[in-house]
C-alpha cells in the first residue's frame, strides 16, 4: 500500500479541449479516484429561451454544442413541431436524416482523432482530422457553415441538396469509405493502440445502465439501445441494425464508433436512394404551447 496523494488536473490542460477540473487521487502512480468539478462553461441557455422567439431559439439551441449542433437543433424543432402538430414534408425529413448522419461522421472522426491524441498517437490524430475535413467540406457546400448548420427550421428545412451536390456527396462517400478503412485498420489492429485501450476504463453493462449512459458509449457497454430505431426523421424507413459491443472498455468504444462510421456512410447512401422530390417546408401558424419530450 502506497501513500495517497492528490494531484489537481485542469481546468486548463493540454489534453482537454474543454475546461474541467479533476482532483486525481493517486496511489502508487495509479489513479484510484477522480473527483470532478464542472461548470466552467455554464452559460445559461435555458434563461435565453424565455427571451427569444421560438423560431430564433433554433439557432441558439444549435449553439449548445458546436460538435453536435445539428442534433441539438433537430431535437428542438422536433419538439416544437410535435407541440404545434406540424407535419414535416418527406423531402425535409430525408434531408434532416442525411445531415444528421454527415454530422455523426464528422463527430465520430473528431472523437477518434482526439482519442488518438490522448493515447499519444499524433499521426493517427492528424489522419483522422484530415479525413474529417472532407465531411466539413460537404457541410460547407450544403449549408454554408462548417460546424453550425442553421438549416433547420420549425416546419422543415431552409436549404435543398440539388442533383449535382448529391452526386458530389455520394462520390465523397466512396472516398471516405476507402480512407476510413485505412485508419480503421490502425485503430483496431495496431498493437500500441490495443495496449492503451483494451481493458482500460471498463464500465460494466450494469454500471452503464445505472449511470444512464447513452449513444455509442452505451452500445460499447453492451446495451442494445439506439434512439434512431424509434424512427424519428426518416430513420424508420431506412435499414440498419444498432452496433453493439460487449467488451465495455475503451477498445469497444473505438470499435463501435468505427463501425458506426461505415453505418453512417451506408445510411447516407440509403437516404439518397429513397429521397422523394417535393416541398421543403410547411407553413407554420401560431405559437407553440405545451410540453413535449424528444430523444434524438
Amino acid at each position: 500500500m502506497g501513500k495517497k496523494s492528490v494531484v489537481p488536473f485542469g481546468p486548463q490542460h493540454p489534453v482537454l479541449p474543454e475546461p474541467l477540473h479533476l482532483d486525481l487521487v493517486i496511489e502508487d502512480e495509479v489513479v484510484e479516484e477522480a473527483i470532478p468539478s464542472i461548470g466552467f462553461i455554464h452559460r445559461g441557455l435555458e434563461g435565453l429561451a424565455e427571451k427569444r422567439d421560438f423560431n430564433e431559439m433554433m439557432y441558439i439551441a444549435e449553439r449548445t454544442c458546436g460538435i453536435c449542433s445539428f442534433g441539438h437543433g433537430l431535437g428542438y424543432v422536433e419538439a416544437v413541431e410535435h407541440i404545434m402538430n406540424v407535419q414535416v414534408p418527406d423531402r425535409a425529413r430525408y434531408l434532416r436524416t442525411i445531415w444528421s448522419e454527415l454530422e455523426r461522421l464528422h463527430s465520430h472522426l473528431l472523437w477518434l482523432g482526439l482519442a488518438a491524441d490522448a493515447f499519444g498517437f499524433e499521426s493517427l490524430f492528424y489522419e483522422a482530422w484530415r479525413i474529417r475535413e472532407k465531411v466539413l467540406d460537404i457541410h460547407e457546400m450544403t449549408c454554408g457553415g462548417r460546424l453550425i448548420f442553421s438549416v433547420n427550421k420549425v416546419g422543415g428545412v431552409l436549404r435543398d441538396i440539388n442533383a449535382d451536390q448529391q452526386k458530389f456527396i455520394l462520390d465523397q462517400m466512396n472516398v471516405l469509405e476507402k480512407e476510413i478503412k485505412n485508419i480503421a485498420k490502425v485503430f483496431l489492429e495496431d498493437y500500441s493502440v490495443q495496449s492503451r485501450s483494451k481493458g482500460i476504463g471498463v464500465l460494466t453493462t450494469k454500471q452503464a445502465h445505472e449511470l444512464g449512459a447513452v449513444g455509442p458509449f452505451a452500445r460499447a457497454c453492451g446495451i442494445k439501445n439506439d434512439i434512431r430505431l424509434t424512427g424519428y426523421c426518416a430513420y424508420g424507413e431506412l435499414d440498419f441494425e444498432p452496433i453493439v459491443s460487449n467488451d465495455c472498455d475503451c477498445y469497444a468504444r473505438l470499435e463501435v464508433r468505427i463501425k458506426e462510421l461505415f453505418q453512417s456512410i451506408d445510411l447516407v447512401r440509403q437516404a439518397f436512394a429513397k429521397i422523394p422530390a417535393g416541398e421543403l417546408e410547411t407553413k407554420v401558424a401560431g405559437f407553440p404551447k405545451g410540453e413535449y419530450f424528444v430523444r434524438i
Partner: protein
C-alpha cells in the same frame, strides 16, 4: 531579437460551444497547418506567447482566464477567437455570461465568426505574430535603455 518564427500558443476554452475550439485545432492540423508559421500549441501558460481564447467569460472562469494571462511571460498577445470571445455573442444576454474576453484581460486581436473559420483564425495568428515581434522589440529596447542608465 527575431521571435517571428517561434511564438507558442496557449488555447483556453472560456465558455464556448466547442465550435471555435475544434476550429482552432483544425487550424493546427494538416489541412490548414498553422504550425508552418512556427507556432506550436502548448499547454503551459508559462511558456506561451500568444493566448487564444474562445467563448465568453462567466463568473466561474473569470479568475481562471485572469490567472492564465498573469502566468504568461511578457511580452504577450491575446487573440479573442469567435464572436463569443469578442463580445459575448449570442450568449451575451444570458444570466451567467459577463461578456467578451476583454471584460477580464486586455485583448489585442479580435477574430470574428460563429464558429470562426480556420482561415480567419490563421489570419488572427499572423497578426498576433507581427504584434508579438513589435512588442518583443519594444521590450528589448526598454531593457537596453535601462542597462544604459545603470
Amino acid at each position: 531579437m527575431n521571435v517571428k518564427r517561434s511564438p507558442w500558443l496557449l488555447h483556453y476554452d472560456g465558455s464556448s460551444c466547442n465550435g471555435c475550439d475544434i476550429e482552432v485545432l483544425a487550424a493546427l492540423t494538416p489541412v490548414y497547418d498553422a504550425e508552418r508559421l512556427g507556432v506550436v500549441n502548448t499547454g503551459d501558460p508559462m511558456q506561451a506567447d500568444i493566448f487564444l481564447i474562445t467563448g465568453g467569460i462567466n463568473a466561474q472562469n473569470a479568475p481562471v482566464v485572469k490567472q492564465l494571462y498573469d502566468q504568461m511571460p511578457r511580452p504577450k498577445v491575446v487573440v479573442a477567437v469567435g464572436v463569443c470571445a469578442c463580445t459575448g455573442g449570442i450568449f451575451k444576454e444570458t444570466y451567467n455570461v459577463l461578456g467578451g474576453a476583454d471584460t477580464v484581460i486586455p485583448v489585442d486581436i479580435y477574430v470574428p465568426g460563429c464558429a470562426a473559420r480556420p482561415q480567419s483564425i490563421i489570419d488572427g495568428i499572423v497578426q498576433a505574430v507581427a504584434l508579438f515581434q513589435q512588442r518583443s522589440d519594444e521590450h528589448d529596447a526598454l531593457v537596453k535603455s535601462q542597462k544604459g542608465a545603470n
